[in-house]
Symmetry: C2
Subunit: 351 residues, 2 copies
């Protein structure tokens, strides 16, 4: 789905009646606590921006935030969703960086993107170039940014170096494969075994994955054969935790680093003392929300990253994840699909 | 025990007969595989240094090396011991940095210090100032150096900042307490509960420990009361692993670092994923042997550290750990004591 600004404006004509949003008044299971209802927009004021939301994905962290198990929680009642793309409808008199017709994405978490219209502060928005496909824009601000930073900020990697990651089929994982390939890095991608494994392997390879293997294969001694072709990884990206993380540590190069950005197994990371002392591996974490806050005063880094990612998108080196577009009214279907195992497609709410 | 050079020379007159050393021909339990026997010294050559060993401690890593479970192992047969102090007797014609009468300590691990005499390469030795007490010199090159580097290389700490460590009664632990106190840092020191706990608490406090508590107390909610007096630690030093390490992680400040240098519990370090992602803690390891190898070409850093540590010793801010001096012939007693639980005194073999 690709909307030029003109088409996006025409889409706006479909907006009828009052703004609506997916609101929760208490934490709990999203299917139970979320309700689609009319919302009152705040006054726009001099520095506000009135945005018509176009599309917003359902990410695992959105679910955790509604469940109340996330590290930052909004004041309640709140609108769900942390990512998405919208169109600027109107701007306050002090707003200088945006104008009506601009495509925008959130510059911070917690804005509440699952609503048809919203008023955000200018500083909470980033302008997107108009030629970026809408699904790319809607899914850019969390996962590709996380992948970009993890591949840039922890190790100096040169073409030919290798990176290992688990959860390779996640939104972050797919972005890691593509950004790494664009940098000339080799990727070793770990996925859970599943029906139609070969289909997934083929899809990840078509994105640029060099090696795709299951958690079980990762534990076998033959995994070492890989390292006749490529060097041992200097960087491991961990979205799973538990045994999967420990196995990746085992394959890391001397002085390698493992960056943890997720814990889908709900298991902690267990690190042999010898890996720390004698192999000199480092463990750290990455959280895009924190990075954005740490860089909130000076948006140069953030804008530079968005520019670089848009360049990759234009070259066809970074695509949106497989998306399932779901009208906002059918949000229950989207929630259900986003929480089902082995569903590769990202659920995108269309406003 | 303090020996000036003159006294040390006189001590040499006690050397009689052939050089002897504690030799092992295969890995195993030290009490079984070590034998005190005559050894043949290699030719001194132009760059060799003939050393009369004076005193050498029994460290946990010496035991592990003999057991065969250490990360680096010498060719067999080998002489045990990695640390100690000796007196230069004779030098090769190309040796410029040392002269007969100099006190020396090892600049690298694996030299084999449990022998009455030895020939080492000049580059393997560091000159010690003659006014440093012998027990300080004998125990300087591993534990105080480890403590010094861990307090310097991982976090920028300013007076008033706090550091938490377990194994606070170990050789490294006691050095951490003293070096941290000299830097104006506050220390939280975790020890295992034991008979005569108060005696240990008093001793560590006399070294400069601000707070001493047991593993059990560390797990209680009241531990938080500490942080009304001092800030949460930015740095945790882990010589134990297992639950003890996890508890220290829990108390670390946001963006704090835990450095692992030992694993006395023989348990891995378990890290909650949330600590990595949301608290942004880092985990890394430190191994003095590796540091010395990384800095082998340029001894400036190493010599600078030794100079700084000697300054602390002269000011009375760094003392040798409680030592039990044991004649070399009674090495079986020293081995037994060094492996017994709750023995605080370091066993020092006198040659």
């Amino acid at each position: 789905m690709r909307l030029a600004v003109g088409a996006a404006f025409r889409a706006m004509s479909a907006v009828q009646g009052r703004p609506r949003g997916l609101v929760y008044e208490k934490h709990g299971e999203p299917a139970q606590v979320l309700q689609l209802k009319d919302i009152n927009l705040p006054e726009m004021g001099a520095s506000g921006v009135h945005v018509r939301m176009l599309a917003a994905p359902v990410n695992p962290s959105d679910i955790n935030m509604i469940q109340g198990s996330y590290a930052v929680l909004p004041d309640l009642p709140a609108v769900g969703g942390n990512e998405g793309v919208g169109l600027v409808v109107q701007i306050g008199s002090n707003v200088t960086s945006l104008k009506p017709g601009d495509l925008v994405i959130p510059a911070d978490a917690g804005l509440g993107t699952w609503q048809t219209e919203a008023v955000f502060g200018e500083e909470k928005l980033l302008k997107m170039p108009p030629d970026i496909p809408l699904m790319c824009a809607a899914t850019l601000s969390v996962n590709p940014c996380t992948a970009f930073r993890m591949l840039s900020d922890f190790k100096t990697l040169k073409p030919g170096d290798s990176v290992i990651q688990n959860a390779a089929n996640s939104g972050v994982g797919q972005a890691v494969i593509q950004i790494a390939a664009a940098k000339g890095l080799k990727t070793i991608n770990v996925v859970r075994d599943r029906p139609n494994l070969q289909e997934l392997v083929d899809r990840l390879k078509s994105l640029g994955a060099d090696h795709v293997l299951t958690e079980e294969a990762l534990r076998k001694p033959e995994v070492k054969d890989l390292f006749q072709e490529i060097p041992k990884p200097l960087l491991a990206l961990n979205g799973v935790g538990g045994k999967s993380a420990t196995e990746m540590l085992r394959l890391l190069q001397h002085k390698g680093t493992m960056v943890t950005y997720g814990g889908m197994s709900k298991q902690p990371v267990t690190v042999p003392v010898s890996a720390l002392i004698f192999k000199d591996v480092k463990l750290c974490g990455f959280w895009m929300t924190q990075w954005k806050r740490d860089n909130a005063q000076n948006k140069e880094e953030l804008n530079g990253m968005i520019t670089d990612l848009c360049t990759l998108i234009r070259k066809g080196q970074l695509t949106a994840p497989a998306c399932q577009e779901v009208p906002l009214v059918d949000y229950q279907l989207a929630l259900k699909a986003s929480m089902a195992p082995y569903v590769s497609a990202k659920q995108i709410l269309l406003m």
